[in-house]
Amino acid sequence: MDVAAEVIKIIAKKVPGEPRELQAGDNLAELGLESLDAVEMIFDLEEKFDIQIPVNANNAKAEFATVGDVVTAVEKIVAEKARPA
């Protein structure tokens, strides 16, 4: 599965307005994601990949500023999950 493509698809669902091509450098707040959108997006990502993303809304803005930040974080968690213990 192309994790990055799936992550971007999930983020795109939360971006208001006309569908558009998302870039790694796009800032989530500037794309129009509000705090509840971000919480819903994280839930969707956790459901999609069956993972836990340890993000607190109180510092999410710093950790998850851009589309690329989210992709990198999810890829890392998915890779850790795939590795045998």
Binding site: E34, S35, L36, V39, Q52, N56, A57, N58, N59
Partner: protein
């Protein structure tokens, strides 16, 4: 319009099961946090809450009464009994029909709901306890306070999430002030540290992993609490005539709705509620000495509340003592405003401001005097207590030291 006195206080809190122990705790910076012990707690990511530890229902109720009492109603009744006993008011005869019981709660009997759902969904049982519905209904705490305390006047629950108790007390204040009732037993109660609710809070991602640090740098969110606080309100003149001790006077109440975001705090709505309370009390901003803040310890609440305080108080804002007792008792949701009014009334009486604990250092966006980490002795004549709820519902009470 009648002046309204507070003549009784009662509490069941994470810091102790009566007003005196609660007050000793919040003035000594004691912390009420501990492990979550509800059924299925091992499946929770969140490990810390502010439970009412060591509460023994059988110390307060017989087994037959307990069959209809969810924990949320138990807390309310125990706190109401303490408040009524302190007031010395005998609620019987004609007075019982002229007394109100107005209780705030965010969600009612969540323990009962969780137990029932666990049976049918998880254990595949096909029946739940017979009194499930009357135990969990959101109005149960008010109904059961009325039954246990013999109150037969206006009785209902107010539900406005984290402002529920403050809305309840404000409603009771209006009823006594207008002469609609001769006394009111009012406050708030909550008991929702149960698996289903905590999963919901986990999904909101606004809980701190360890401690709430209101107005501090590096704060990471709130901690969920449970408990109740209750008050007896009476017309000042009647209370004085019967020789009651006047603990404080409630002088104003303000409310507003943000009509904006369901969960993000709104500086404008906060501002309007505080100005409403001051205007209702005919007070100037410079009359206020102490603010018991909503102060949840989330990133956004504390910034918005600081900004709103600056808008309301202007040049006077830096002179205010502003503290968050949630730093010690956590966020008791629908009971929070009652626990905080209790701290505010005691602060007025004792001339002692509870601290904001767990404060690590300044956040430039929260630059008021938040009484960090140590209680402060200072004369207080007027205080306000802020409650700002999910749903954009705001309520503020203004309180005056008893003459």
């Amino acid at each position: 319009m009648k002046r309204v006195a507070v003549t009784g206080l009662g509490a069941v809190t994470p810091l102790g099961h009566d007003t005196e122990t609660f007050w000793e705790g919040v003035t000594n910076g004691r912390l009420g946090f501990g492990p979550i012990t509800c059924a299925l707690h091992e499946r929770l990511t969140q490990k810390v809450a502010a439970p009412v530890a060591g509460f023994d229902p059988l110390a307060h109720f017989d087994e037959k009464s307990l069959a209809i009492l969810d924990r949320v109603s138990q807390f309310a009744i125990v706190a109401a009994r303490e408040a009524i006993a302190q007031s010395g008011l005998v609620i019987d005869g004609a007075l019982s029909e002229r007394t109100a019981a107005i209780v705030g709660t965010g969600s009612g009997g969540m323990g009962t709901q969780d137990d029932a759902y666990r049976r049918v969904f998880l254990e595949n049982l096909n029946r739940v306890f017979p009194l499930t519905i009357p135990r969990l209904m959101v109005n149960a705490p008010a109904s059961l306070v009325s039954m246990h305390c013999g109150i037969r006047g206006p009785t209902f629950v107010t539900a406005s999430a984290c402002a529920s108790a403050t809305h309840a007390i404000g409603q009771a204040f209006h009823m006594v002030r207008s002469g609609m009732v001769d006394a009111a037993v009012t406050g708030g109660t909550e008991a929702s540290i149960v698996f289903g609710c905590m999963k919901g809070w986990e999904a909101m991602r606004i809980m701190a992993p360890d401690l709430p640090r209101p107005f501090s740098r590096d704060r990471k969110g709130m901690i969920i609490a449970e408990g109740a606080a209750m008050f007896v309100l009476e017309p000042l003149a009647t209370a004085q005539a019967r020789g009651a001790t006047i603990l404080a006077e409630i002088v104003g109440f303000g409310m507003s709705a943000d009509a904006g975001d369901l969960t993000s705090p709104d500086e404008g709505g906060m501002t309007r509620a505080m100005l409403g309370a001051l205007s209702d009390a005919s007070l100037s901003p410079s009359d206020v000495d102490y603010v018991n803040a909503h102060g949840t310890g989330t990133l956004v609440n504390d910034i918005a509340e600081t900004a709103a305080l600056k808008r309301v108080f202007g040049d006077h804002a830096p002179k205010l003592a502003v503290s968050s007792t949630k730093s010690m008792v956590g966020h008791a949701l629908g009971a929070a405003g009652a626990l905080e009014l209790l701290a505010t009334v005691m602060a007025l009486r004792e001339g002692l401001v509870p601290p904001t604990m767990n404060w690590l250092g300044p956040d430039p966006a929260c630059d008021l005097d938040v009484v960090p980490n140590e209680a402060r002795t200072m004369p207080i004549n007027i205080a306000i207590s802020n409650s700002f709820a999910f749903g954009g519902l705001n309520a503020v009470l203004a309180v005056k030291r008893a003459a």
